[in-house]
Symmetry: C2
Subunit: 770 residues, 2 copies
Amino acid sequence: MRFPANVTSSPLSRSLRVFQVYGANTDVGKTIVSTLLCKALRRRSQTDGVWYLKPVSTGAQQDADDLHITRFVKGVETKCFWQFKEPISPHLAAPQTPDHSDGSLLSKVREHISAINRLGTVLLETAGGVHSPAPSGTSQADLYRPLRLPIILVADSNLGGISTSISAFESLHTRGYDVEQVVVFANEKYKNDGYLLPYFSRYGIPLTVLPPPPPKSGPSDEAAMSEYYESTAEKLGATIESLENRHAARIANVRSMSGRAFSKIWYPFTQHEEISANSIQAIDSAHDDFFQTYTPSHDTSSSQMLKPKFDGSASWWTQGLGHSNPDLTLAAAHAAGRYGHVMFPGSIHAPALELAELLLDKIGNGRLSRVFYSDNGSTGAEVALKMALRASRLRYGWSPNEKVDIIGLKGAYHGDTIGVMDCADPGAFNKEVEWYSGRGFWFDFPKVGMKDGAWKINMPQEMGGSEIKFDNLASIFDVEKREGGVVGEQYANYIRGELKRAIKDEGKKFGAVMIEPLILGSGGMLFADPLFQRTLVNVVRNTPGLFPEFSEDVSSPDSWSGVPIVFDEVFTGLHRLGRVSSASFLGVDADVSIHAKLLTGGLLPLCTTLASESIFKQFLHKDKTMALLHGHSYTAHAVGCSVAKKSVETILELDQAGEWKAAKADWASQEGVEMDVWSQWRQSFVSEVSHLPQVEGTFALGTVLAVTLRDDKTTGYTSTAAGGLLADLKSNGVDARTLGNVVYVMTSLTSKQETVRALEDIIMESLRAM
Amino acid sequence: MRFPANVTSSPLSRSLRVFQVYGANTDVGKTIVSTLLCKALRRRSQTDGVWYLKPVSTGAQQDADDLHITRFVKGVETKCFWQFKEPISPHLAAPQTPDHSDGSLLSKVREHISAINRLGTVLLETAGGVHSPAPSGTSQADLYRPLRLPIILVADSNLGGISTSISAFESLHTRGYDVEQVVVFANEKYKNDGYLLPYFSRYGIPLTVLPPPPPKSGPSDEAAMSEYYESTAEKLGATIESLENRHAARIANVRSMSGRAFSKIWYPFTQHEEISANSIQAIDSAHDDFFQTYTPSHDTSSSQMLKPKFDGSASWWTQGLGHSNPDLTLAAAHAAGRYGHVMFPGSIHAPALELAELLLDKIGNGRLSRVFYSDNGSTGAEVALKMALRASRLRYGWSPNEKVDIIGLKGAYHGDTIGVMDCADPGAFNKEVEWYSGRGFWFDFPKVGMKDGAWKINMPQEMGGSEIKFDNLASIFDVEKREGGVVGEQYANYIRGELKRAIKDEGKKFGAVMIEPLILGSGGMLFADPLFQRTLVNVVRNTPGLFPEFSEDVSSPDSWSGVPIVFDEVFTGLHRLGRVSSASFLGVDADVSIHAKLLTGGLLPLCTTLASESIFKQFLHKDKTMALLHGHSYTAHAVGCSVAKKSVETILELDQAGEWKAAKADWASQEGVEMDVWSQWRQSFVSEVSHLPQVEGTFALGTVLAVTLRDDKTTGYTSTAAGGLLADLKSNGVDARTLGNVVYVMTSLTSKQETVRALEDIIMESLRAM
């Protein structure tokens, strides 16, 4: 099974030029322009082919656009898939059967184009205007977007045509299309060409002015039209040449990008010794779950240059609602058009306020009452750290430069800025970083995974190193029941003992607990036993005498106890793991909670650090310098807040609409347990993976699949066990990432079931081939 | 002198509702809809006024839209400013004289609206479609944007009208307008209403379907039309009610925002004890240099609720090309529509590549060859720090956890993340921050400023505390000449001596020089003598024996010498101070250079850290962990890179087009010196300010004006001397910020001269009133 071609292809070929003809409105002369272009193409070369494709047409057969072309131009192969009799919009004209879905139409277009194996040019003419509906009702500009064909826009030469032409262009431009040519008929009275020429030239788009066609006056039209076509096509040589040049320039550019990047870009988290100019993939565009890529080392000189690749790392865990999602684009553009970015301190604007209210309302943690904005997970974690340390310091009466540590888990990671790097235990990510010095106490912890079809918890050596089997994943999450059992007690005793030793015997001071609930992402997709994390929080909050005595009343629901609890939900939150907040798996509420990545649906950076009123109040003081003196220039930028609001609303709607019903049903078959624990990956697939000898362990939760490969030499970040697997996945159209010997693939929240099934097949095949 | 009203007003009144009627195309029935609405409004209330305004109209007088209204509806006051005879686009129909400029038109509209001092509704009908040109040629959607009136969109009921209606809506939406109501005529054949109703309901916009008007058939039309209007207006009660409700809801929302923000938002750099629910200003929108604000404590219950305010802090130093700049909006939307955000390591996309190439080409520093992306100035400075420390460590053979400091200036600031906070000397910004520990050696330094009309350099106490006068600002910048003089030698000796003592006597190790060239922004707009900074760099680079010996050939132009030199140009770069790079004022090239804020023109966060190949090569290693392990999820997000590319190109074009010619001419009158040192603020104004007894010193450079107020009690960040001044400026429409006793106001790069002149007058008045 492979990905369905109709959702993944963007034609780009050295030999075959394909252009899509859009009109600024209906009846602006698209077919006349197509006819002229076909004629001019035929004039230009006797050998190159010319193809005209009108996928959907409405109106009487004898007036059909493809017949019009055939009538006036020799040697053009024409095609229309669906001709509907009524001269009305296709979404009204199309009969119920056969299948007129978007997928069906895209498949036909793609097959038609890829079947052409010759030099030449294809013109694909749309119906009506840019947003005129396809038979399915989808706007054509959205429907054809996966192809992202270069566009010839026929502007409107009538009164009002300046406006319709510019708006049509803006609709195409905001959907990421490249308009390569504008064509307009001269009109002595309205002179739209005179206005549109400088307008489009600002975008580097040439505009061709054509003489107006003869008026329609009856059957005698044909001779007049024929003469018009003859005389006008002659003048289109420069237009055809420009189209050819732009096509050639695009190909040259795509081919050159990797080399240019290799010499100019300093890549993040990349050992440049390990990459080459030929290994960098140029991403020409992206749509839904797929990139369109060109990698020099994989250039097979086949006619199709761009290879679709599933975005298996969700573009570093950010993606969730599909690339190039028009709703997010428009949310961004509206905020940009209303505000740009506006000064935040002392002010408020609707997107920041409404996002704050939405998050506080929906994140499901009643303690949280304040929203602090910053730019990314790392800065948001620095903010959380400053909040927590201040609260502890003031309660316990320490001086600002007292040596205070945090409590965390081994393998934690909260970002790349040095302050929060210090919250991670020493490891591969920081051992060579000059100003790093770990400031914490980190517990090793029991980890969850599946091997040979069984869910297990593996205890760390410090806790005996044993293994506990479970019937299913859901029962691991039954933390309230498990809490009262032997393991729960063992966890509590262990944590209490360790903390007592650190505090009482070693004299350490702690200012915060800082953990990623459930899954420690960067640490290697480490799946923590939720009971252990829950117990850690409860021990810190509820052990008399563990922390110094204090007077504040901690019985109120938003008061913190022990030390402030910080949950880093940057990766784990917003349904990445199947729930709006992964804290809910633990059944405890944090005092401070950090949210980013999926927050903006995979479009641009923004972070929110949410805090309880109890923490907030610690910063109220007559002295200005006691305020939280943190704030980036673009704090709470309107574009990011607006996109985040739309994203969070969409995510909540997906859940309410039962978008993941089938996946949840698959996981609901875990016997005897009713719990919202599920994955987009099928149970049976995860089990199958876990049986492979190459696999040390695996798990799936929400959108995430993680597979730990056996590596007898080394484990962790420096392992290279996954190298071959990654390359194999890549050649099969899956762009995945590893963390050492852990390979992970994650879907977006909107990935289609057939896409995930295809992914499962590809992954299984690649794993078996290892 | 006050700001010209036509650029600053956005009408919003409790009593007067103003709606703007746009059409999806010309001839879609805007005037018929306006007539119906006027009639329905008259039916709804006998006492409320109804006004109809058609600012620009084309076509024969007897067919004019305002006359049409008068003919069919009683009791409506109509107005047309400009009626042009030819039924063609206003930009072709308007005669050369009188003045048909945008400013003139906006003034007339505003005056007309503000002269109405009664309860009621104004309908302002546009001409043609949304992007149809005004007499000046400006698109109406852009022209009327400063008013940002709520919109009634008349959709297109003809064939193709679904597309034109949606595209028209998108053009309005991306310009930040709120469409409050869509109206469309029923059409049995095309049924556009059936498609558009659910489409607009996704945006929460109601759609009203009207029966089609009778066909035009001659002079007997009038009776048919009259009957149509009578019978149809009856049905519009719900539409009118909806418009009224939305107007009331908008007002209620604007009034509630400050209070809601006060209880939910945790503001950056804000002591919440100092603010109240009534002091927070709600920013309803922003355009060019102006916010539209509502502050509860300033609500005078006057009819006009929104007060325009000049964005005097350039929204924390980010703004440069005008708020809501449509070019930047479209650049953002295009990238969002083409990519969303795509994975960066291992990949390349056009916006990131093209921005990198543009910066390396144009920033004017031949050393720099690599671009590293991050999200804001603070993260970009962390990246720069990691780069520099690694290079030094490897050259000098230190271990990763060796105690290494940086060399800087007192009052430096590079961001709020803890790693770069450590690069700042102890002060108000960090004294209460828990994990802060300064890691550097910071020079006090000579500062530039004007007092009593004379430019002076004040030496720090360590260097004798004397004062040097200069004839003009430009001669201070003649650093090559000054370098050979007494002061140059004094600087070199002093710096060499201090560094020798630190290194040789105290055993300090240094890993980088890190400075903000010319102006230390957050430190209080400290204007450093460029010669001092130049000398610091040269001493570090060229003093034999100061740093350990090393073998690399440092004679090649991109090799670093001594320690890497890092310039933080986050605030100072990209023409903020009048040049594309402020390093050019010093005449030395950095090894690492950080750029943000203006980089994206004031729209959204992005940072680039540029480095020389010599620094980059230090990270090439077989060991993966020796790579620069830094990278945020949204690294090099396509939207940011695309906006930055457009911004930088626009900034460079402004310079080339001589945009600042007049300002440069004003400063060119500095006798005897030819140097690119200038400001948008006039020399005479700066001089006048410097003579005020309330003023300790002042300067202007590029877009920045800084005024240090006398404060006999305290200086620096904790001073409150500026409190009254700020409030006074605010009440006069200038939203400025202070850094302790330093008040600064900065313009954008596109601020109009009359705006800056008005600003000067307001500032002078407020200063005198202190």
